[in-house]
Symmetry: C2
Subunit: 212 residues, 2 copies
C-alpha cells in the first residue's frame, strides 16, 4: 500500500472513531480547513476522506454550509439492526475459520479488559472496547465480503449505544458485555465458531431491546 493510501486509511479510521465515540456529536460542523491543518495536509486529500464518510452515512456535506455529523435514531436504524443480526449469524456458517491459540489469547485479553471496565464503568471506555471487540469478531469468518458489510453496518449504528447510555444502567451494560465475552470465550475454547456467532447475534438483539 502506498503512502497516500495509508494516510487515507489512518485519517478515515481516526475521524470515524471520533464520530462514533461522540467526540464529534451529531450535528457537529466539521471544518475541512481545520481538519486539514490538524493532520498536516491540504483540503484535497482530506475531502476524499470526508467523501467516504459521507458514503458510509456518518457525515453529510452541504454546499455553502459545512460538513455535518449525521444524527442517528434507533427507530431509523431498526432495519440496519435487523440486517446486522442476520450477518452476525452468517459469520458462523459462511467460511467460518478454525479457532487458533492466538484467537484464544486475544479473547482472554478482552475478558481481562472487560473485568477492568466493570470495576470502573465508564461510557467512552466501554464504547472503545466494544469497537475493538467488534473488530476481533470479524476475524471469526474468512468471508471478506461478509466482514466488509458487517463492518459498514456496525459503524453506522455504533453511536446509538453511547447516545442511549444516559437512559440505561452503565454498570449493567458493562456486566452484560463482560458476560458476552466470557460466553464467547467458552464457545471458542470448544472450537465452536458457529456458537460464538449465535452468541453475538443474541447479544446484539438484546442490546437493541434494552436501548429501545
Amino acid at each position: 500500500m502506498s503512502g497516500a493510501a495509508r494516510r487515507f486509511q489512518r485519517l478515515h479510521a481516526e475521524l470515524r472513531a471520533r464520530i462514533c465515540l461522540l467526540d464529534y456529536p451529531p450535528g457537529t460542523l466539521l471544518s475541512e480547513t481545520a481538519l486539514a491543518q490538524e493532520f498536516g495536509t491540504s483540503r484535497t486529500p482530506l475531502r476524499r476522506v470526508l467523501a467516504r464518510l459521507e458514503d458510509e452515512g456518518l457525515v453529510e456535506s452541504r454546499h455553502g454550509v459545512g460538513t455535518l455529523v449525521t444524527d442517528v435514531e434507533i427507530g431509523e436504524m431498526a432495519q440496519v439492526y435487523a440486517l446486522r443480526l442476520e450477518l452476525a449469524q452468517l459469520a458462523g456458517t459462511l467460511d467460518p475459520l478454525p479457532v487458533t491459540p492466538e484467537m484464544l489469547d486475544e479473547v482472554e485479553r478482552f475478558v481481562g479488559r472487560g473485568e477492568t471496565l466493570l470495576a470502573a464503568p465508564e461510557p467512552r471506555g466501554f464504547a472503545q472496547l466494544n469497537m475493538e471487540y467488534h473488530s476481533f469478531g470479524l476475524s471469526l469468518t474468512g468471508n471478506a465480503a461478509l466482514r466488509e458489510m458487517t463492518e459498514r453496518l456496525y459503524f453506522r449504528t455504533a453511536r446509538i449505544w453511547l447516545k442511549s447510555i444516559p437512559h440505561m444502567d452503565l454498570a449493567d451494560e458493562c456486566a452484560i458485555f463482560l458476560s458476552e465475552m466470557r460466553e464467547t470465550q467458552t464457545a471458542l475454547r470448544a472450537g465452536d465458531t458457529q456458537a460464538a456467532a449465535l452468541i453475538r447475534r443474541a447479544h446484539i438483539s438484546m442490546s437493541v431491546r434494552r436501548m429501545s
Copy 2:
C-alpha cells in the same frame, strides 16, 4: 439533491455500467483527463467518482501508472456469491414489501423483454436486462440497508457472467433467465414475496454452478 450530487450519481452509474458491460474490459487503462473532457468537467469531480468506484472494487488507481479496471475471477468471488445467496433470501424475510399492481406491470414488461431477447440472443443485451432486473428486485424489500449491500455485491460480480458466456450456451442462458422472470411473475401474482426471493436465490446459485 443538489446539482453536484446528481452529476456524481450520473457519472458513477454510467462508468459502473461501462465497466460491468465490459465496454471497459478488465485491465483497461482509464484516463482521468479523457473522461473529464468527455463529461465536460474537470478532473476534480471525476476523481471523486473514480474514488468511489475504487471503494467498490471496480477500478484501482496507481500513482504514476493510471486507473485500471480490476479483473474478476469466479474463484475469488466464491465468497461474494455465498453472501449474495443469503442476502437474496433475506429480501423475502426482512421487511418484505406487499406486491403492488405497478410491480406486476413491471415484471410483465421484463418478461416481454426476456421473450424479445430469447428470440435474438445477444450477450450485451442480456447483461443490460439482467442489470435492470436486479434493480427491480431491490424493490421487493423495504430494508434500505439490505438493498444497499445487495447492490454493492451485485455490481462486484456482475461482469463474471459476461466473461463466462463464451464458454456457455447463450440461448440456454436466455431461456433460463426468462424462466426465472416467469417464475417470479407467478410468485408475485400470488403475493408471495418470500417465494420470489427464494427463486432469486436458487437462480443465482445455479448460475454460479453453470459458470464454474
